[in-house]
Amino acid sequence: MPLIQELDYGTPIPVIGKTVSLTIDGVAVTVPAGTSVMAAAMTMGTAIPKLCATDSLEAFGSCRLCLVEIEGRRGTPASCTTPVEEGMVVHTQTERLADLRRGVMELYISDHPLDCLTCSANGDCELQDMAGAVGLREVRYGYAGENHLDAPQDTSNPYFTFEDSKCIVCSRCVRACEEVQGTFALTIQGRGFDSRVSPSGTDFFGSECVSCGACVQSCPTAALNENSIIALGQPEHSVITTCAYCGVGCSFKAEMKGSTVVRMVPYKHGKANEGHSCVKGRFAWGYATHRDRITKPMIREKITDPWREVSWNEALNHAAREFERIQAKYGRDSIGGITSSRCTNEETFLVQKLVRAAFGNNNVDTCARVCHSPTGYGLKTTLGTSAGTQDFASVDEADVIVVIGANPTDGHPVFASRMKRRLREGARLIIIDPRRIDLVRSPHIQADYHLPLQPGTNVAMINAIAHVIVTEGLIDEDYVRERCDLGDFESWARFIAEERHSPEAVEAMTGVPAADVRGAARLYATGGNAAIYYGLGVTEHSQGSTMVMGMANLAMATGNIGKAGAGVNPLRGQNNVQGSCDMGSFPHEFSGYRHVSDDATRNMFETLWGVPLQSEPGLRIPNMLDEAVAGTFKGLYIQGEDIAQSDPDTQHVTAGLKAMECVVIQDIFLNETAKYAHVFLPGSSFLEKDGTFTNAERRINRVRKVMSPLGGLADWEVTVALSNALGFPMSYSHPSEIMDEIARLTPSFAGVSYEKLDQLGSIQWPCNEAAPQGTPMMHVDRFVRGKGKFMITEFVPTEERTGPRFPLILTTGRILSQYNVGAQTRRTENSRWHEEDVLEIHPFDAESRGILDGDLVSLESRSGDIALRALISERMQPGVVYTTFHHAKTGANVITTDYSDWATNCPEYKVTAVQVRRTNRPSDWQARFFAEDQELKRISANAAE
């Protein structure tokens, strides 16, 4: 499709309220009360000239170009700051206005370079457009006066350039940074003629800027422009697609020149992001065409052999014959597959189909095993669905926001911006996190309560909060009586009221003063609409599932489920982790979370697929690895996942992989896991295929192909070909046909089709006869399971304990610029912000070990040891250290252990007992890593014909 230019109404249009009728240029128009005259004019297609106004920002009234005449009023008011009134008669084009506007433009242009033809914004410049609109023909002031034409450029940010000489000081960037992103990194420096945009007197890279791109997006000239535009020129067509980073699932316009991406621009009509973006989705897409991409299939006999490039046919046949050989020798259950949360719903569905139908077993699992599997279990048990309860927009109506074990400003930045906007409007904030994350206190945001608990005591904390609510009479009794199972509620209330759950009783364990816990509990129960947002700090514990149920208990007890502004909301990690779970990636469930032992469901699949299916759950990822080490599991097909870096206890993972006879990796890069693989099938990035991703709010968004797969086949086509090679025929001409099959087999997707997705833009499941447009909010009148079920949540401390040998607790997390295993972001300029993983340590713990900021330190647990640099930080509490796992060479997961959630095996990444000391060399594992990294990634020089 041609280049998409969304209409800009100039100012936001209120969504609700009564309407007002007025006349603009002789035409009657009716708009919501509170709409500006400028936006009202645009609704009837009349564009009033403007420079400082754009509808993502509140009206500012500084450029004086949007002046209008209003009958009965003196002067020429600015249409952006003038709200409509009943019966108003507005004239947008008169001789007087034309003179004024030309005069204003003359002043602007008298201090602006006249280099339109060689300017990077040529063809996409509002100043240029306005000069045309007002009919500017001369500048009577001349160009010789004092000006800013020699102002220096700021090229410090790797993705965009600030060309001060092109700046008209409209403040759009400053306001975007404040209103949209909420970082407040820009200001207008000086006054009068000296007024200039400034990132606090330093350069952009050294400032508070988080490189979200909101300023670039809002700039009407070339003052802030993408470096890719400067290098390549203006794009010629756009394709609407979905970001492939986090679970927010932002919609983007891929702006293209042929099959080259020129830039990714956040799409205003994308319901997850509404025109906002972060540094990853907006800028860090260059990995897709990075020289490290592997585009030829490869095989090898042994992992110590160099890879040999072969044809697709040879690779697929080799893989199929190997899997058949292994099954013949070791039994049907000796192989399995892992689906990818980075791939589309359709691709994920096909991989689990291949495992269940072509392998003939249920040995399929996915990376949700290691992140949000407790969410699925806990929310399904208590509420009836394995997903969050709200849409993102719900936060706009929250009065109290509780963030537990999540760091949204780093992990889910676009949603965090929305949350921060609500906080600036006055919502109260409770943070439950061992670290002092940015949301605890950052410009214009201040948590009412920060409960910095000891890692591993989540359940004790949630029980203490519930204890206060139960014993202080803060239960919403009507809600509980009407909506929940009363018997379960009463036994839960009796349990939670026991004195041993009081904030005072658990204070010694959690380390949080009881008074703060009581205050936070009262605020949650009585502060109005209360919404819980949580992340992996909840799930990645030995009691992850218990904690999820504890939060659901709390929300039900206070009537905070089934209405806007409330709910229990997992901030899901990967772009399609919700979708990969929905699609039946778990060994015990078909798509739509139906157990494989359910005869009716299984019969439906057997009938459509024409093969018998197993009724017993298959192996989970950790079981596969255990069985591999034990010698009974021999073959694995992994699509788009890097378990050798992402999964806990790396040395156990690699031991399992080394024990297998055929590991097939399908990925865009030769990743860590590929070092232990025998077949490599080139994967395709999100830019190279059609499909859908489902985000954290159950929103199914379209992914659209903008370029051909670099390896020749999209991921879904590879799975189809592998299945065909295995003798289980699959035949689809387009991913839409896969979605049709999903809809036919999955009640919650029954109404989903590509046609409807194109029509509605996106759909939140369930989408079926009962909800043909989808379901933004769950459990509105009743819980999906019928009555809400309160679960007893006994606190059982993890067996991972600190002691003399390992006195500190390590907890792991993410940072803004890198994503997960870093396979993508490490291959972009984002690494400029985070070149290596570091160990955050409190000054007290550092000093007692003689550690200085930047020292190389050894981090050791009972699983292994690594070396990395120390970062002394008061964000930590004494006794707790923190790191990230974005760099393979760091090996953060060498440290983490095999402890996991009791219900779902989700690893306990967040609690590992460790010791830290100074060192002067890499660990043995790291030394081996560096040696093997070369050895196991060799590609033979003799490429296949």
Partner: protein
């Protein structure tokens, strides 16, 4: 640029704390800092931002908006000369330029001996006795070359 001592930084914290409860405390704090140090030291800005939970950029925008806030110490004495319309009409520019030429500095600069800083201001509300100025905070009216020479003599003599 002089570095603030530990004692100075303690004083900065005290000044910030003393004004923090005000409605809109940033400008009063900046005034108090300038009062204390004679200028607003760069390193106090991030302390101020952090204390008020504002961004560094916001504080930067505020401090640079007001010409009265100095980013480096002034001379021992400060002479502010009005450059607004009424004083211009009364021969202010000629008198001022003559003084600056004599001192060998321009607007906002300090004499090499550190004795005198000359700054422009825009209207002191003393138009009735234009051209006017402020010498170390004291108004002077009907300025002429002799009066300014007296100021210079006083400064040099001091």
């Amino acid at each position: 640029m002089p570095q603030l001592s530990q004692a100075d930084l303690k004083r900065v914290s005290e000044i910030i704390a003393a004004h923090s409860s005000l409605d809109g405390p940033a400008v009063p704090i900046l005034h108090a800092l300038q009062e204390e140090f004679g200028y607003v030291p760069e390193e106090t800005l991030s302390l101020l931002a952090s204390a008020l939970n504002l961004s560094r950029a916001e504080i930067h925008g505020t401090v640079t908006f007001y010409h009265d806030f100095r980013s480096k110490p002034a001379g021992k004495h400060v002479l502010k000369l009005c450059r607004a319309e009424a004083c211009q009409a009364m021969n202010g520019p000629q008198i001022a330029e003559a003084l600056l030429t004599q001192l060998g500095i321009t607007w906002g600069e300090t004499t090499p001996d550190g004795a005198l800083t000359v700054e422009g201001v825009f209207c002191l509300g003393l138009c009735a006795c234009a051209p006017s100025g402020l010498y170390d905070g004291e108004p002077i009216g009907r300025l002429n070359a002799e009066l300014l020479e007296a100021v210079v003599q006083e400064v040099r003599g001091a």
